[in-house]
Symmetry: C2
Subunit: 176 residues, 2 copies
DNA sequence: GGTATCTTTGACAGCACTGTCAAAGATGGA
DNA sequence: TCCATCTTTGACAGTGCTGTCAAAGATACC
């Protein structure tokens, strides 16, 4: 072992994800990532191989912490808390997973995002105790909110939509 | 008036929209459009100015017919019919408006898609007779379905999600 | 038929990104 | 200290897209 990596990999991953969230998957180039991370383009190619591999490594890295936080929000604040957490996460910059899902060209990125959504569905299912069908509607709603965010809707508007959805679900629960 | 346009503008618009739906806004280049429409790139630049203008003209052109069809589906089949229509429209190729919303770089495209969603919300509101809040949830759900479609979900899966959402809304209606 | 007007076509320069590579730099171990 | 190994850096060729333009083609009107 010698000639050792000069950059902090976690910091690179964090900057990488921010860049992808802001600019979209296709809209982000290796020069963009080099500029955002402060690491030369050649070094990124050398260390990770290319854009897709770098994305995948960064995405998988931070996925688990998001799921943990989501589970926490769900436990603390119920469905309302969950949606608020999602909107607050999405809101200044854009939803990384949604943008990547829509934007991706390679199959690998789509597959990874799909797995992420299944995991998110599991979190909702476990934390909310509804049916899997309803959990899936909840996840679908978060995707819809992410699209609306891209169109310029404010956090307040998104939360209002989430509140309506929450009321529909909670209402159905009561009437069972 | 002389030296007259050699191509059928409606056909060009139709092919244009298909291409944008399949490849995404950023993923579609002028050479792609030239190939898809059979019109030389130079002619497209001459006639429309560029990609964004061509997109906008084609999008606005076909927007109204979609809204009309959606209203018809809603009248005929209620919320279930509406969602089925949306899924069937989205499904083989992808949802043009959602892809464009997420993908767009220019402000004009986003603004146009936003207006389209407001119009769609109005259609749902008028056809369904619920509150505007619920109509907005319905529109948001269609966006979520479009994202899932991009991830490879089948029409059947999307319709199942839509059915759950429909049940939640209809249930809330009954208990009022 | 002639002319003015519009369209089509192919070509051009400019720009940005990709992926690779060789040379140079840095580091840990013998 | 010296060496083997890894990383960094800048440069390179290749590719694709953009926007423009001049020349050529087509058409309506006089």
């Amino acid at each position: 072992m010698a000639g050792v990596r000069q950059f902090d990999e976690d910091a690179v991953f964090a900057r990488t994800l921010l860049t992808f969230a802001e600019r979209g998957y296709r809209g982000t180039s290796m020069p963009d990532l080099a500029a955002a991370t402060g690491v030369q383009r050649g070094s990124l190619y050398h260390a990770y191989g290319g854009k897709e591999q770098l994305f995948l490594r960064a995405f998988e890295r931070h996925t688990q912490s998001f799921l943990d936080s989501a589970a926490g929000a769900l436990e603390t604040g119920g469905l309302t808390g969950f949606f608020e957490f999602c909107v607050d996460t999405i809101c200044p910059r854009g939803c990384l997973s949604t943008r990547s899902a829509v934007d991706a060209d390679g199959a690998e990125v789509g597959e990874t995002v799909r797995r992420f959504l299944v995991a998110l569905e599991d979190v909702v299912l476990a934390g909310l105790g509804t049916s899997r069908e309803v959990a899936r509607v909840v996840v679908t709603t978060t995707r819809g909110l992410a699209v609306l965010q891209r169109l310029g809707h404010s956090p307040g508007e998104l939360k209002a939509i989430a509140a309506t959805q929450t009321a529909l679900i909670e209402g159905a629960r009561l009437s069972d």
